[in-house]
Symmetry: C2
Subunit: 345 residues, 2 copies
Amino acid sequence: MNHQPRPLAPCSLAIVGATGAVGVEFLHCLAARNFPVGKLKLLASHRSAGKTLPFKGQSLTVEALTEDSFAGVDIALFSAGGETSKKYAPIAVKAGAVVVDNSSAFRMDADVPLVVPEVNAKEIGAHQGIIANPNCAAIISMMPLWPIHQHNRITRVQLATYQAASGAGAAAMEELSDSTRAYLAGQDYAPKVLPHPYAFNLFSHNTKIDPVTGYNDEEIKVMREARKIFGDPDLRISATCIRVPVLRAHAVAISFECERPITEHEARAMIAKAPGVKLVDDRANNLFPMPKDASGKDEILVGRIRQDLSDPSGRTIALFVAGDQLLKGAALNAVQIAEHLVKTQ
Amino acid sequence: MNHQPRPLAPCSLAIVGATGAVGVEFLHCLAARNFPVGKLKLLASHRSAGKTLPFKGQSLTVEALTEDSFAGVDIALFSAGGETSKKYAPIAVKAGAVVVDNSSAFRMDADVPLVVPEVNAKEIGAHQGIIANPNCAAIISMMPLWPIHQHNRITRVQLATYQAASGAGAAAMEELSDSTRAYLAGQDYAPKVLPHPYAFNLFSHNTKIDPVTGYNDEEIKVMREARKIFGDPDLRISATCIRVPVLRAHAVAISFECERPITEHEARAMIAKAPGVKLVDDRANNLFPMPKDASGKDEILVGRIRQDLSDPSGRTIALFVAGDQLLKGAALNAVQIAEHLVKTQ
């Protein structure tokens, strides 16, 4: 891929998948963070072309994505699924854009940085035209572990997720609402987007299972991407990914083991100082991270920090986190990467 | 406590807390399992006295619980909260009844057997008048581990729960439905039963936190009771208990470590043969345990059985279970205990 650096501020942007759940949040983040937007091109499938979306008081018209969409674009934010990224990201790079890709298409490629800016922003500079935005559950889980990993290496992570509908897109969010409404009215509802009834139900993440290990694709993403984000191929990690009837914020129960003993007080102090995370660990008032409170928030909420009593060596800490799947889990993280691009080029 | 054995079949029964979520399921289980019911006395608070409940085609009138309620009662099934059990269970025992208590009041008492019949039915005979029914999440979590523990001792368990509303009673189930209906209609809803908004939200279990360990009461119950049920005070265990917006079946993500290496195939084969559990582990069709499928079922559903890849020694297995909180998590387990009493006395 021939990436030609060019001046980036103010910056000509394209959003691929502009009408999706993440696309809309790209616009929200760009506006809220006062990103130096020059030209802004909203791209989506032919089906969505002609729709309009609001941005900073203007009404922008969505164009159909074509091979000619990227002329003059500095940064292209992609969130339209792996197949679209595989086809159009190289085209965008060839046209001179830097692609920040929210799909899983390029995440594990050796020449593609996989970036959570609070963790490994330094990787951004090494890009060859594409920078990958990690899996949402990986971002949300690893954010609070990074400050600890730097002081007392984390050798093992076990986690179980409580993942919201938004990870499967706007249609899945609608299916959760519609099927729940039907359930409460005593009406039948045939799932269209997800493979199982979702009203007051939960299920193992709807990605295919690796027949050898028994882990599903989502879990494998979390595990592989965690190692790449931390730059630690030896990190031992196991994930169980579960879809719960929540609209847009993921939660994760995490247990992690350090090289040396660690107290909950040490862990809490390190997390409290870290950027992008917020302690919500109020035992007296039973107030801990909840999807309701994480929704619409930039920070990953972290609480229930305690010694994991199943490890008598005192090296294991348990905690519970919640983070907005569409913000830090997707759009916000990508926009933060774009901000680094603007600053450093 | 002076317990006087007396003939038990057909058996004079009392149900304390008959109008509650578990009380109604006691009646269901007694009828469905054709329990040898002689006289059946339904007891509840003064507020509920006079209500009627159906049982095998009859309509039974609920009486107010008093100190004189237990004359002639052989077995009393209690599910009306810890305070009621603390006050009335000794009175019932004094009157000659055997109490099967669903509250946590006596569970950790040294002279009170804590019983999951598939695991430790042999303890029932040692009772001094009271037999305790374990915490719902403890029953559901430990059922699939017992067949493995007998062959290859489990030394460590880490689990994260996905607990239904029913664990907090019928009023909490109603609050989940009502608050969700309000949310979907765009209306405000002030929580009355649970401390946090429940519609499309989840939260750390609403029991008080131990300030020393940071574990909440529910987690401490699961951890202590698991050790007592297994008769293994050395079992190292950590639980994270989370309330999810599901009506009546709990799910649990479990990782357990054995003394010796174990393969997923060995674990699956042992679980498949065990009573009271059902394998739902269909990787090809992505069909695993779900609350929807566990609701109304006697069996604990078990799936996602796989090697926990965070343990390179090959001694750790991950799995995911779902079980009806009101049935095997409460009423069914208690009725099974009562069946053992009838059989053995």
